[in-house]
C-alpha cells in the first residue's frame, strides 16, 4: 500500500485524545478520518480538534470501507473484542497496551490477525521513546558489555477516582497489568531472550485498590538465563504530589559498566510552586512517555501497514509482556515463584 493510510480512532479518553489524536498531524502518510467514543462530548471535541468525523458507535467506523486501520484507545477490557472484530473486518489494528486482560484474549487477537492477514501492533510506547531507544542502542553497541541486571521503577499517584476502570482487576488489571506490561516488555526487549522465572509481591494500599480488590503497588523479580536479573517497583500508591520527575528510573549493570537514567536527568529545570512544592520538569506533557514517542509509534505502525517496515514489536512480544505481568500477579496472589513455562505460548 503506497497511498495514504486512512485511520479511525476508537476511544477518545486520556490517551486517545491527548496522545494519539494530535500525533496524526505529524504523520503525512496517514490521515485521521474518523474518531469514536461512546461519550459524545469527547468524540465531538476530538473531531473538532482534528477535522475527523465523530462517531459514537465503533461498529460504524468498522463498517466504513474507506478506513484502512483503526487505532484502539479503549479501556483495556475492550482491547481484545474490538481488535478481533476490526481485524475480521479487514482493518489493520494499532491497539494500546496492555494487549488484553487474559492470555486467551491475546491469543485470539494473534490468530485473528494471522487469519485476516492484517497488521496487529500493540502500543508499547517505551520502544519508541528516545530515552529507552537510546539505552537500547547503547546496549546493542556493547557500551556496558553484556547486560546482567536491570532495575526499573515506574511510580506515581494514580489520579483517577475509585470507580475508574483502571482499578478493577478484570477491567484494567490493576498495577500488574497496566504498568506491569511496560516494565516486562522493557525487560524482554533489553535482555532479548525468554525469561525463566517470575516472583512478585503485591499490595493493596490505597482505599480505591482495596475496594476493587486489586493491587496498586508491587515489586517484581524476573530472571533470565544465566541468572540475569530484572527487578522492578511499580506503584500507583505514591503520595499525591510525588513529583512526575520521579516517575521513571532505569539502572542497568553490564559486565563492562553501568548505565543509569532517571527522569530527574531529563529535566535541567526546577520548578518551585507554592501549592505543589518542588517539581521538574514541566515540558513533558505526559507522566511516562514523550509526545514524540507516540508520534514515532504511530508512524511506525503506518509504515508497517504501507509495507515499508517490519514490526518492531510483534504481537508475540506483546503477549510475552502480558504473560509476564499475569505471571507476576499469580506469583503475588499465590505467594510462589512462577515458571515462564506456565505462561509461555
Amino acid at each position: 500500500m503506497t497511498s495514504i493510510v486512512r485511520v479511525g480512532l476508537i476511544g477518545c479518553g486520556n490517551i486517545g485524545a491527548r496522545a494519539h489524536a494530535p500525533a496524526y498531524a505529524h504523520i503525512p502518510s496517514a490521515q485521521l478520518v474518523a474518531v469514536c467514543d461512546v461519550n459524545t462530548t469527547r468524540a465531538h471535541a476530538v473531531a473538532r480538534a482534528t477535522g475527523a468525523t465523530p462517531y459514537f458507535d465503533y461498529h460504524e467506523v468498522l463498517a466504513r470501507d474507506d478506513i484502512d486501520a483503526v487505532d484502539i484507545c479503549l479501556p483495556t477490557y475492550l482491547h481484545a473484542a474490538v481488535s478481533v472484530e476490526a481485524l475480521r473486518q479487514g482493518k489493520h489494528v494499532l491497539c494500546e497496551k496492555p494487549m488484553a486482560v487474559t492470555l486467551e484474549e491475546a491469543d485470539a487477537m494473534i490468530t485473528a490477525a494471522r487469519e485476516a492477514n492484517r497488521v496487529l501492533m500493540i502500543g508499547h510506547v517505551r520502544r519508541f521513546d528516545p530515552r529507552y531507544t537510546t539505552v537500547k542502542h547503547a546496549l546493542v553497541q556493547g557500551e556496558i558489555g553484556h547486560l546482567v541486571h536491570v532495575r526499573r521503577a515506574e511510580r506515581q499517584h494514580l489520579p483517577f477516582p475509585g470507580d475508574a476502570w483502571y482499578w478493577h482487576p478484570h477491567a484494567g488489571g490493576g498495577i500488574f497489568l497496566d504498568i506491569g506490561v511496560h516494565v516486562t516488555d522493557l525487560f524482554h526487549w533489553y535482555f532479548a531472550t525468554e525469561p525463566e522465572t517470575i516472583f512478585a509481591l503485591g499490595r493493596q494500599i490505597r482505599p480505591e485498590a482495596q475496594a476493587a480488590r486489586s493491587f496498586d503497588h508491587a515489586v517484581l523479580l524476573i530472571t533470565f538465563p544465566d541468572g540475569r536479573i530484572a527487578q522492578a517497583e511499580i506503584s500507583w500508591a505514591y503520595p499525591p504530589h510525588f513529583g512526575r520527575s520521579q516517575y521513571a528510573l532505569l539502572e542497568l549493570i553490564g559486565t563492562q559498566g553501568r548505565l543509569v537514567y532517571s527522569d530527574r536527568d531529563a529535566a535541567p529545570m526546577l520548578v518551585y510552586d507554592s501549592n505543589d512544592g518542588l517539581d521538574l520538569p514541566t515540558y513533558f506533557r505526559f507522566m511516562s512517555a514523550l509526545e514524540e514517542a507516540f508520534v514515532a509509534e504511530i508512524a511506525h505502525f503506518i509504515a508497517v501497514v504501507r509495507g515499508e517496515a517490519e514490526l518492531l514489536i510483534t504481537p508475540e512480544d506483546a503477549r510475552t509482556a502480558l504473560a509476564l505481568a499475569i505471571a507476576a500477579e499469580t506469583s503475588a496472589r499465590e505467594q510462589r515463584p512462577v515458571s515462564w513455562q506456565e505462561v509461555a505460548p
Binding site: V148, F199, L221, R228, I229, A237, P239, Q256, G257, Q335
Partner: protein, 360 residues
C-alpha cells in the same frame, strides 16, 4: 559512669580500620590504648600506631599485658572473629566486631553466646543506622508522622575491594573462606540490617538471585538482588554487590527509597560529599563520615552507661542469616521461609561448638 573508655584496635585486615581508629582517637570519652597487627596489613597497623603514638603489639599476648583496655574494635578477617571474641571475652573486654559478624551461622551463634556468657557488650557496626537521612526516616516512622511503612528499596554498589587505592591489601575479601562470601554479603549486609531496622520487623520470606556476573572466576558472588517480606507485611528489596566499574566516580553508590502511606523518601547520597574533577579523573568524595563517629560513640556510650548497644550481636547474626537465606533461595529457586530456615540452621549447634574454638 566511666569517664574514659580504653580501646584497642585489633587488626588492620579490614579496610575500615583506619577510619575507626581515627574516630576512636577523636572521641572525647574514648582513648586509643594500642593497635595490634593481627593478620593482614600488620605493617599498616604499625605505622598507624606510630602516627598516633600508641604501643604497637605484634601478638594478643602483648596486648593482654597492657593496662587500661576496656574494649576492642575487631577489624580482622571475619574468619578470625570467633576466636578473637572468645579471647577478648576472657579478658573481660567489650567488643565492637566489624561486619559480617562471622563467616558461618555456627560461628555467629557461638559469638553471640560467648558474649552473653561473659557479660560483655558486643556490637556490630552497620553504617546506615548512623547515616543522617536514614536516621531521619526512622524517627519519622517512629513518631508516626510518616504514616505506615509500605516498602523500602535499598541499593548498595561498590567496587572490587582489591581496586582500593590503599596501602592495605584486600585480597582476602575475595576468598569466601576468609570473608564469608562475596560482594552481595560484603556491602549488602549493611542494608539488610537497615531494611530490618526500618521495617521494625523480622523477615518472614526471602527470595533472591545471587551470582558472579562480572568478575567471573575471581569472587564468590559479585551481585545479588533480594526481595524480603517482613512479618508485619513491609516489603524490602536490596540490590548489592561489587559492580561499580573503575570509571565510577567514587567508591560507593548507596540508595534508599522508602514509601509510606504518607510520604516517599529518596536517599541517593547519605554522606556529605563533594566532587573533584581533574584531567583524567572524576571523583565524588565523602568529607564527613558521620556514621563512623556515630557508631563509635554508640559503642563507647553503651559501655559508659552499662547498657546494650543499639546494634547487638543478635542483629549481626540475623543480617548474616538474611544474606545466607538469599544464597539459599538463589541456589534452590525457592522462597525461603526465614524463621523456620534459621531455626534449622541453628539447631545442629551442639554445646561443644559453643566455645571459642573453631571446630576442626
Amino acid at each position: 559512669m566511666k569517664d574514659t573508655v580504653g580501646l584497642a584496635v585489633i587488626s588492620y585486615a579490614h579496610l575500615h580500620a583506619p577510619r575507626y581508629t581515627a574516630a576512636i582517637v577523636e572521641h572525647p570519652h574514648a582513648r586509643l590504648v594500642a593497635i595490634v597487627g593481627y593478620g593482614e596489613n600488620a605493617e599498616v597497623a604499625r605505622a598507624e600506631a606510630q602516627r598516633y603514638g600508641v604501643p604497637y603489639c605484634t601478638t594478643l599476648d602483648d596486648l593482654a599485658t597492657l593496662s587500661g583496655v576496656d574494649a576492642v574494635y575487631l577489624a580482622s578477617e571475619p574468619k578470625d572473629h570467633r576466636h578473637l571474641v572468645a579471647w577478648a571475652s576472657e579478658q573481660g573486654w567489650h567488643v565492637l566486631c566489624d561486619k559480617p559478624i562471622a563467616t558461618t551461622l555456627t560461628d555467629a551463634a557461638a559469638i553471640v553466646h560467648i558474649a552473653q556468657q561473659a557479660g560483655i557488650k558486643l556490637m556490630v557496626p552497620f553504617n546506615p543506622r548512623y547515616q543522617l537521612p536514614v536516621q531521619r526516616i526512622k524517627s519519622e516512622l517512629e513518631s508516626g508522622e510518616a504514616g505506615e511503612l509500605i516498602a523500602v528499596n535499598a541499593l548498595k554498589y561498590g567496587k572490587l575491594p582489591v581496586w582500593a587505592q590503599s596501602p592495605q591489601r584486600a585480597e582476602w575479601f575475595l576468598d569466601p573462606a576468609r570473608s564469608g562470601g562475596g560482594g552481595f554479603l560484603d556491602i549488602g549486609i549493611h542494608a539488610l540490617d537497615a531494611l530490618r531496622w526500618l521495617s521494625n520487623s523480622d523477615p518472614a520470606r526471602i527470595y533472591a538471585r545471587v551470582g558472579t556476573y562480572i568478575h567471573t572466576g575471581q569472587v564468590a558472588e559479585d551481585l545479588g538482588t533480594l526481595v524480603v517480606e517482613f512479618a508485619n507485611g513491609v516489603i524490602g528489596t536490596l540490590s548489592a554487590g561489587w559492580v561499580n566499574p573503575q570509571g565510577f566516580p567514587g567508591w560507593l553508590d548507596i540508595g534508599f527509597e522508602v514509601l509510606t502511606t504518607r510520604r516517599a523518601y529518596h536517599v541517593y547520597s547519605p554522606y556529605h560529599s563533594l566532587s573533584i574533577y581533574t584531567q583524567d579523573r572524576a571523583e565524588r568524595r565523602a568529607w564527613w563520615r558521620r556514621d563512623v563517629y556515630g557508631l563509635v560513640d554508640e559503642f563507647v556510650s553503651a559501655i559508659q552507661e552499662d547498657r546494650d548497644p543499639a546494634i547487638t550481636g543478635e542483629d549481626g547474626l540475623i543480617a548474616l542469616a538474611m544474606a545466607f537465606a538469599a544464597y539459599e533461595s538463589s541456589r534452590t529457586g525457592q522462597v525461603v521461609e526465614f524463621k523456620e530456615w534459621l531455626q534449622r540452621q541453628l539447631k545442629p549447634l551442639s554445646s561443644s561448638t559453643r566455645t571459642g574454638e573453631t571446630p576442626p
